[in-house]
Symmetry: C3
Subunit: 473 residues, 3 copies
Amino acid sequence: MTAALTLHEDRLLPPDPETRSIARRLYRNIRDLPIISPHGHTDARWFADDAPFPDPARLLIVPDHYVFRMLYSQGVPLERIGITRRDGGPVETDPRTIWRVFAEHWHLFRGTPTRLWMNHVLHELFDVRVRLTPETADDIYDAIADRLTTDGFRPRALYERFGLEVLCTTESPLDTLVHHARLRDSDWQGRVITAFRPDPVVDPDFSGFADNVAKLGDLTGEDSGNWNGYLRALRVRRQFFIAHGATSTDHGHPSARTEDLDHASCERLFTKALAGEHTAEEAEAFRGQMLTEMARMSLDDGLVMQIHPGSNRNHNAELFARFGRDVGADIPGPTGYVDALKPLLDRFGNEQNLSIILFTLDETAYSRELAPLAGVYPVLKLGPAWWFFDSPEGILRYRRLTTETAGFYNTVGFNDDTRAFLSIPARHDMARRLDCAYLADLVADHRLDEDEAHEVAGDLAYNLAKRAYKLEA
Amino acid sequence: MTAALTLHEDRLLPPDPETRSIARRLYRNIRDLPIISPHGHTDARWFADDAPFPDPARLLIVPDHYVFRMLYSQGVPLERIGITRRDGGPVETDPRTIWRVFAEHWHLFRGTPTRLWMNHVLHELFDVRVRLTPETADDIYDAIADRLTTDGFRPRALYERFGLEVLCTTESPLDTLVHHARLRDSDWQGRVITAFRPDPVVDPDFSGFADNVAKLGDLTGEDSGNWNGYLRALRVRRQFFIAHGATSTDHGHPSARTEDLDHASCERLFTKALAGEHTAEEAEAFRGQMLTEMARMSLDDGLVMQIHPGSNRNHNAELFARFGRDVGADIPGPTGYVDALKPLLDRFGNEQNLSIILFTLDETAYSRELAPLAGVYPVLKLGPAWWFFDSPEGILRYRRLTTETAGFYNTVGFNDDTRAFLSIPARHDMARRLDCAYLADLVADHRLDEDEAHEVAGDLAYNLAKRAYKLEA
Amino acid sequence: MTAALTLHEDRLLPPDPETRSIARRLYRNIRDLPIISPHGHTDARWFADDAPFPDPARLLIVPDHYVFRMLYSQGVPLERIGITRRDGGPVETDPRTIWRVFAEHWHLFRGTPTRLWMNHVLHELFDVRVRLTPETADDIYDAIADRLTTDGFRPRALYERFGLEVLCTTESPLDTLVHHARLRDSDWQGRVITAFRPDPVVDPDFSGFADNVAKLGDLTGEDSGNWNGYLRALRVRRQFFIAHGATSTDHGHPSARTEDLDHASCERLFTKALAGEHTAEEAEAFRGQMLTEMARMSLDDGLVMQIHPGSNRNHNAELFARFGRDVGADIPGPTGYVDALKPLLDRFGNEQNLSIILFTLDETAYSRELAPLAGVYPVLKLGPAWWFFDSPEGILRYRRLTTETAGFYNTVGFNDDTRAFLSIPARHDMARRLDCAYLADLVADHRLDEDEAHEVAGDLAYNLAKRAYKLEA
């Protein structure tokens, strides 16, 4: 017998009947609010071209690192699911075969958010009503593939169907933003805007750093080979991003370290970094200084800063060698904020016109450091539970560990941080349900009145993100 | 329509009906036990003078760091709520205006313990029955202000109304304890006693350390300029505190580091510290040695030690510069206990007549270090969830993370650690409810029998604090 | 009135009625599965001799470190409960007296897993129906003592009664495995096999390291005084263990550090270690190298590796001096895995024929490091909640913190890790109940379908351990 695939209307809500009723009422009120997606990794080209998405495997499996990590951990070679090899070696190219491999291993995802997101996508977008198994894999594949050829499944149609109000992508300063320009100049009403992610030109350890900085000079007409010209070039490029809709920057550093060095030290570090003669410590210091420089620029141009620290990139040397960046198994590590952020905070922590959103992959920082910091510094806000913690338990831990010290209003609502465009409604829906679950707990044991919980639910689902990322305009 | 302010009789109890019934029964039994407040920061002068408290703002807003941190984090200058500036610059002085600012921002406290404590105070002490909003702010202000002028709201009357059995304050060794002496010599039956907090004379980084040590010598007639005389002076001063009721000491160090150095090293560190020529490392070492010295003295005079480590004091440089100590935004950091305490424990850890109560701002230490340490060393006990963690989720995490290894009887009950005198019943009530909620969980899934839970509830609410702090006498 | 001792059939299941029903159904299905005990510290001699166990105290109290730690923390000298002193000094020898001391302090264990295990043992094995108190202590003692003399309470009978399918012990490479040989050669059908725990011969800080290595040479006929011969000797000895049933190795290092050094460095470290001239850092490096060597050998001989890092052994100097190893109060500390394991993982992390099971005493590593690592590296699996965390809250935290990233299938089921043979069914029953409780949560809020939860429950209770430890044969 084929098992059914259902999306229960009460999924992720608390099991206690009274609490569940409260959660239902809260959720029902905010369920259909537009989606603000202020941070993510979709591709503006999709919306500029509005071409159909490719096959089910290349859409749903190949680019999803949650999926391929789990399969690989259980012995599935990444070649079998079509991940491109750096050396051009052979990998599976038949999408149906890849989909079957995925279906065979679908049980591995029990208890993971991937399962919830995928089931939501299958059920809501593709009207699948049977559980994915090796037996049902082909039928489900066909159902997806068929729909992907229809107009209703083209990127712009989905954007509208998803109720998106704004969708932010993330680009390098070296990006031409040509697709964002096309979108800006088109008559489509969707709002797909960029965010300024300068890692390639501010991280001395980034592949091709010196070339990137040179290219930054070329793009801006500044002499990026000296410290002052380099900073000017960054300012110019930020303006270019702002002209393409950007309201924020994003910084993916190994740690939260910041520095506030004197001019001579900055010049010296910069020169060494360009020459590739920096030590690991000097690279850390330079990155740290650049966070402070970015804050200084944000004070002037108003871009909201996002700091995503604490990932050890490409931990798995063999995967990195074979498949490259973003397949190399990033692994979190202990991440300190209190000492790390002090130089930046000493300089700019009390500004009224600067906003810095902090993320973490080290949950121990929530109650010990992040909530106390965001609960006192005017410039700091807490980003939502991120990456591994964008999950039912992860989101509840986030609220339970931060709210009592930082409150709700030093947080910025949800962001999906995804390149899996089709899963965006699933992810926002999950976050909305869990925020309502948390609020229902507060109402159920009389820590909050229900009318207030309704207001907070709307803020967490919609208003806070809009405000924090300056997306009202 | 004006929203009502209610205190639900089941607040903070578990929502599951069966578990809630158990929790209710447990709570009902211990709700009205006298309050032991063995650690806090109220002012003995209040009780010695028994003068009326000042206006609502200076009583409830200005001195409460939970309140002003949150307001500041959301952009409210501390001048607007009347925090005194070091430079004497202008700050708001009208209490009603300050109260209105607070009321405008009251929604920021949703989900925080401040909200629960404040609502308890408003409802139970001032008979407020409407929610605090900008619209109700003036009426509530008047209700509070009116009552504060009445005899029933003078400090001694409130002490009695609160059911306090003992209230401990915290003083520097340089304090004359004149108000404690007045209380001791008065015919009032309340028990307001001091605790010995030697930070100003044992921390080389404390403002005015050398002067403080000199003053310690003056107060005791000992030559505090040499190591032996300094130790004698501390012993003498401890006796003075004991004569004013003290049963405990309290130590607010940046870390839990202890040392057990030889005499020559102690002398050398002490000399450098007095001369202000110590390094940061030497200051740490000296503070660490002083914890061991305090333990040695406690073995002789019986004072219970409390160690409150792990706060980075005055993290916000601008706030500290403008408003000074205790407004400078203390932020926790990672705090290790296992290596840090070893020198002291190697020396005194197995004594039968020494008691050291450990606190933490780093919740990761609960299950990893603190419960295992307290679960084997006879001298160690665990203090309750502290500061940011004196909150519904914080208290439950504390029990869930420590009980299975340390049990209940290596903990010391609740203490409120507050300078907000009016909130003491609210804080103890919250802790009692949450301990009953935790116990009800154990009963509901048959980890504990209900008759035993009743006994434990009484121990957590009353007996353990009395015993651990030697307050039976 | 004497309080009853009952074992409620729903103990440890969630209190919410609907969730409890689901949990009941899940549990009922897997409750009676055979017990796989793939890691523990029972004594093969018990089963080889099949002699009656000694008195209640020496069976249930004296060897249980959970018990004596708690008693000692509350001021009970270990001499009073019969722990042998190194100096041969007098200790209590009357088992009934020891039992009475235990009974007097039984309330200390409220809220701890010891209470649950002991009550299970008393109720299920000894038909005790009254709560242990000073008043009932003698009767209960007699009930236990009586039964211990009967045939049904001899080791082999209990093994069968417990439904054990396999029971792994842990031995030093220097052990002759004579009792395992006797078992292998006996006609008893029970499967009691060894595991290879090389700490005495791979840890330069282990008492008698050089002698141990020499003895290893003697046992194997290899020249263990040089690096190559030493490695050969280890390989030979592993084969000897395999011949006695071993399917796994076990490594109890202070940290998870690994190394992948060149041959010359290995030789140099080994020489220094043998001469006792190593620094603490060199000892760490050597132990780290040996983990990588063990992995290399496992690739060849198929033994599954278990790494149990992060315990500060013998923290209590006085206890260690008086009572020796394993009574010296081991205390966990912060334990990093990401950098520590990288050398080993760079070498062997992507092998298909190697399996390394990671444990932790630092719960912060679950979501931050262990689940992400096990969720991508094919060689890594997560061991169950260990030691202090083999407890109701600990097991639930383990699942909540690891499942969303690593899933269920990168974990290895339960192991009891105990020397308390009689408690094995209690421990497995506790783990089974809690896994069902966790699964019921997933079903109740529709994160998992119930038919899948049944399958997972069986995997967690039985199949995963059998597969991970290669016990199918």
